[in-house]
Symmetry: C2
Subunit: 413 residues, 2 copies
């Protein structure tokens, strides 16, 4: 047993969250380091979908909007997410995609910051954030989108025209964590509101929206929340914005009285007005069931396991694959790092990820040269983290992807 093995064994033995793994379906022999793209399936999902299609839809039919609580589901599911991001009950609305929720919140922020019309966004953000801001700027005359570069201080770019600053809390590529409270305070001091994208935060990294005095937030539920492919996203606004909150996707399910069928839109109370059209109940129910895993979970333990896990991975890779060309592309300080780790590899990054996949070690590749590994603290073991680092080292040692036979061998390893 090497020092790394002993270390992994000790970390696993000390892991209070270890029993949680059993609540997920883990494919045989797979080391899944892509829970930051699509989380594993919680076992609770199958039973819930079974009852949605076996009873609520098939038997209850239209009556299930009230009897099975479908109508309230967007806010009920939001209440499950709220504690993970430092939001209160009734403040988080779930439904639609992250993209659609970005649109709602950007428009709401522009509306709330009268007299300013610039969206300031990071050019290196996950693309849909930029695309949606571009869509809004194309649509609304006078609204302008400005980008700042990754190395720039976003606060320095805020002038008197900036209505809203759009940022990711955890960068999708590097995992760099931004200082939410400081940036929000700085933006407020310059007269701008802030919309935080929590897609790579929620469920793996500590976040306290209210303590940080944030204005708006959106987040994804199919990554660390394990809600299933394309699971509905969430939107949040600080309670101080809710009374006057106006968002343009004012569909009937966000109306104060949807079943009165009146002609004119009257927003529902508080965050319910983020809800737009009829929610996709199958996907939303699966997410609801997936979130049952989080009940009574010691969140501080989870956040700290995430940091320990990424640190252990960095250490293991740098020890085992030293001199193989991998350059850490994530912050070295775990306090500045989210729950994934990226390395740049000048040559062969794509091939490395393919060779790993052939060994059932799943991560992902981001062009031009980044290999990315996600560490979902709810279900991963330190022993797997170490095994993944060993696979990486072995593959890079032989650079065996040039050899066709490797893939075959790898696939049955």
């Amino acid at each position: 047993m090497t020092g790394l093995d002993e270390h992994a064994a000790r970390l696993d033995a000390e892991d209070m969250l270890a029993p949680m793994r059993d609540r997920f379906h883990v494919p045989d022999d797979m080391i899944y380091l892509d829970g930051n793209s699509l989380g594993l399936m919680p076992k609770s999902v199958a039973a819930r979908l079974g009852s949605v299609i076996g009873a609520e839809w098939s038997e209850g039919l239209i009556r299930s909007w009230s009897d099975a609580g479908w109508f309230d589901l967007p806010m009920r599911v939001g209440d499950r997410i709220a504690p993970l991001v430092g939001a209160g009950a009734g403040e988080v609305a779930v439904g639609d995609s992250t993209s659609v929720n970005l649109f709602k919140c950007l428009a709401a922020a522009l509306n709330a910051n009268v007299g300013r019309s610039v969206i300031l966004a990071e050019g290196s953000n996950f693309p849909t954030d930029s695309y949606i801001a571009q869509g809004l700027a194309r649509l609304v005359p006078g609204v302008e989108l400005k980008f700042f570069a990754a190395e720039e201080d976003p606060l320095a770019a805020i002038d008197s025209e900036v209505a809203v600053l759009l940022l990711s809390h955890v960068d999708y590529r590097s995992a760099r964590v931004r200082d939410m409270a400081a940036i929000t305070a700085g933006a407020h001091a310059r007269g701008a509101l802030v919309l935080w994208d929590l897609s790579h935060t929620t469920g793996a990294v500590a976040c306290d929206l209210k303590a940080a005095n944030v204005d708006f937030a959106v987040g994804c539920t199919y990554k660390y929340l394990n809600g299933g492919p394309g699971a509905p996203a969430f939107a949040w606004a600080h309670p101080r914005h809710l009374a006057d909150l106006s968002q343009p996707l004012s569909g009937w399910m966000g109306h104060a009285a949807p079943f009165e069928f009146v002609r004119d839109y009257v927003p529902a109370e508080r965050a319910r007005r983020f809800v737009c059209g009829t929610p996709q109940i199958l996907s939303l129910s699966a997410l609801d069931a997936a979130l049952s895993v989080w009940e009574d979970l010691p969140l501080e333990v989870l956040w700290s396991k995430s940091r320990r896990m990424t640190s252990f991975f960095v250490d293991a890779v740098e020890e085992l694959a030293a001199g193989r060309g991998l350059m850490l592309a994530s912050p070295r300080d775990p306090a500045e790092r989210g729950s994934h780790v990226s390395f740049d590899l000048e040559e062969g990054g794509f091939e490395l990820m393919q060779a790993l996949a052939a060994r059932k070690v799943i991560g992902d590749f981001r062009a031009p040269c980044t290999v990315r590994f996600g560490f979902a603290p709810l279900y991963l073991r330190f022993a797997e983290v170490l095994a993944a680092a060993r696979h990486i080292a072995e593959i890079l040692e032989t650079r065996s992807w040039d050899d066709d036979r490797f893939r075959v061998r790898g696939a049955v390893t």
Copy 2:
């Protein structure tokens, strides 16, 4: 056997579509006349969801975006819907809610009709259509929303400012069918584009978007398409608009190269650019499976069964419940009527629907005084239609909802 019984028996015997009923889960003893709100569950859904959660998500995980075809699903499902509305392959994009798709298409229409900025809408349309148009008008300075009244000729209300006319093909309340080709031609002659909402059309009423030279259309899939609660909606644009089509919900899944992660939005080819964020795969897969029912279906037979069914219902109710205060609120001519039938009842409409529900006859009530019955031609039998009419007549004869005991008796009938 009465004349009505014989008539129902003959119509059922002649019904070429009768075998289709067996492809649905039909609750015991229920007469479900609300398929225009939420369709019955096709049996094909359970197996498909089983394989999505039992294999595609749980085992395939992130690889299923390519291996299980998740990425292409919005357009593949669209191709299943296309023949039902007279659209071509690759023209229909599925995802998001009807409300969100209304927003995309209204904005696209305004963008396409340069120099005009008024949305003209029917004030009595299903409310979400109005609410979304109001949301767009609130958001975009210069865009104005004008309503015309139900009894007004929409064409007469088109002046040189109207960019787009927003209409429902089948009215959600009365089932009145508008003449799609004539109104579209008239709007074009006045310089306006037309966006048709096909929510109460698709899957029950004939529709030929291209023959009618329509500009834009959206539709719902959880009614006559039986896609499940809140199933994703669809958007369509005439091919002549696709090359320049610009819609503001420009999320990454509608990008020309989503996995290149470039900063600036470049729309995907043709209708794919209607796709916004990551699609909700569980709901979308259920819809895909539900649509398998439509393969090789003789559509003309279906449209004609719908007309026969609503006519038979009107005849039966008017014969059996004559003098009980029901006034037909739908067009009498089946050619002008969609697949549901509404009656106004000055007093007791809500109570009638409750009493019917206690007998497991499900329709719905629309305030202030409309009772509404939907006839999904895919799975209903004429014998059920007649039985429903008999229940209505019996309940109205005794107006027995004043008697508490009635409900108990009714519930076990």
